[in-house]
Amino acid sequence: MIIFGSILIICGLLLLGVSVYIAFGAVLLFLALTGGHDITGYLPAGYWKMNTLVLLAIPLFMIAGAIMEKGKIAAPLVALAELFIGHIKGGLSAAAVVASGIFGSISGSANATLTCIGGIMMPHLRKANYPEGLSAALIVSASPLGLLIPPSSSHILYAWVAQQSVLKAFLSTVIPGIILILLLIITNQIALRKYKDIKVTDRPRDFVPEFKLQTRQALPALFMPLIILGGIYGGIMTPTEAAGVAVVYSIPIAIYVYRGLTWRSLISTLSDAGITIGVVMTMIFMVLIVSRFLIFEDIPTIARELVFSVSENPVVILLMVNLVMILIGMLMDDISGLLLSTPLLLPIVQSVGVDPIHFAAILGVNLGMANVTPPTAPLLYLGAQVTNTPVSKMLGPTFLFIFCAWLPTLAVTTFVPALSLWLPELLLSR
């Protein structure tokens, strides 16, 4: 009764267009009415769950992403990627995918990746006669690489909820991320075959001096992942400290090196980032209370029994778990989806022998895909604004990338555990 009632309320209200935090508030009202919970316990429950330094990494990475987005830090990265593959047909769009991967390793945010790379690449692609809908859909489909290539805010959250190593969770999606990059590029190349009038840029006559110049310009930006990941993996900083250092490093880089920001515009950038942070942290607060009270009601055990009543075959169970995550992702944002599905689904997959770090990768790919899958698809709608392309033109190509790149990546990530576990075991087994 409680599980179905909660699902019905969330789905109904979200489909109606009610804000996510209000939908969870309605579930709390339902739980108070049916479960007889003391409502004065809601606020302290959420407060104690949120009162941890680990969670501060999320707003800090968001601030770093916002500064990089406004600070034009992506431009030299794009130029560097273009230098290598811009002269072949489809190279420019492949450069957008590669640049999304590189920028993802700096910002850890899909939104920042989409805004930066989309804003820079789309005019180039239009000028070179690349099809508008396909190119915009490619940029949108590549932007969740910011969630897969470390550092990733959602992995910090997963590691915290599931009590796992953040470093291992970070590394779990590196190989799936690379597979996704390759599949996106291959799918796009095949789709581009019918377009004959695509212009290609000339390869620079003096490649080495040009390479040196572009690398020098991109170096301050490329130094960022070195600080973040080097600091974390070297055991020098915690992820939260690394995120703080990344923000402080990005400010002078954005203002004095790339000149995308001024001290005045920095304040408005910080307050805009604060609004996004407020949205995310409110959802986290509400979901944490809901998940706590769902656990009180023993919902994870009920969900597990429900799944096992259908089948005990690990393959079928993993398929069902993926289906549930895709549905959750289609209805709500990645953070709420992660916080809701981790306590419910992790015990189920663990009971069929799935490693929690492997599940981090499955969850990461699922949530990345959910971000671009209609109807919710926040990145698709943001992408339409950033690239100035109608959603109607992007829908078909987006589904093409979902079916030919995202779903195969999800399948191999789910059924080949070595892809997610090999790197963490190799680097962190000491």
């Binding site: 209200l13 979200l14 489909l15 109606l16 267009g17 009610v18 804000s19 996510v20 935090y21 209000i22 508030g25 309605a26 709390l28 009202l29 409502i39 004065t40 316990g41 809601y42 606020l43 302290p44 959420g46 407060y47 949120m50 941890t52 330094l53 501060l56 707003p59 800090l60 601030i63 020098i236 900083m237 939260t240 400290e241 995120a243 703080g244 250092v245 923000v247 402080v248 304040i267 408005s268 910080l270 307050s271 604060g274 609004i275 996004t276 942070i277 407020g278 949205v279 942290m281 409110t282 959802m283 607060f285 209805l331 709500m332 944002d333 109807p375 339409a384 109608p390 959603v391 109607s392």
Partner: protein, 184 residues
Amino acid sequence: MTEIVDRLPPAAARPFRAVVNFMRLFVAAGGLLMAVTFCAVVIIRYGFSGNLFAYEEWLLAISFWTFFLGAALAAEKKSHVNADILGVVLGRTKLAWWRGLLVYIIELVIGLYIVYWCYLAVESEIIAYPLWETTTALKIPAVFPRAAILVGFFFMTLFNAIYLVFHLIDGPKGFEAAHPETEQ
């Protein structure tokens, strides 16, 4: 500036403008403070072999204010995440206006419910004085960050209520005129 401040009469808009400006400034300063503090922690640890005593206690308390004032600003800018599927499907029709009305009413009712349980929790803490729950080292009362949650949800609900009033004033005809059909 924003829809609320632009549409309210000047006398009513003034306090709103002041509150919104304060929130924006606080949220910007709070974010910067978080980053600078963590950077300082690393510098002090490796540069001076020391530590920033109990920084997490005051930083987390300020963070709660930053988060929930940011959330209030998001309500004022209508930036909270939703899956506006029906809104896209219905376009700017009379039916869409009724859907909007239903959403605003649900958001107001549930918002008031959230404010209510936040108020009960904060009130019960204040009453418990002098036996307040505090942090370990700096003895910061837990009611300080928890009040941020109450204040945040109060403003979110207030802004939602104002948008409901605007929606009713616009009516279906004003709604269609104010939101001309645009291709998504």
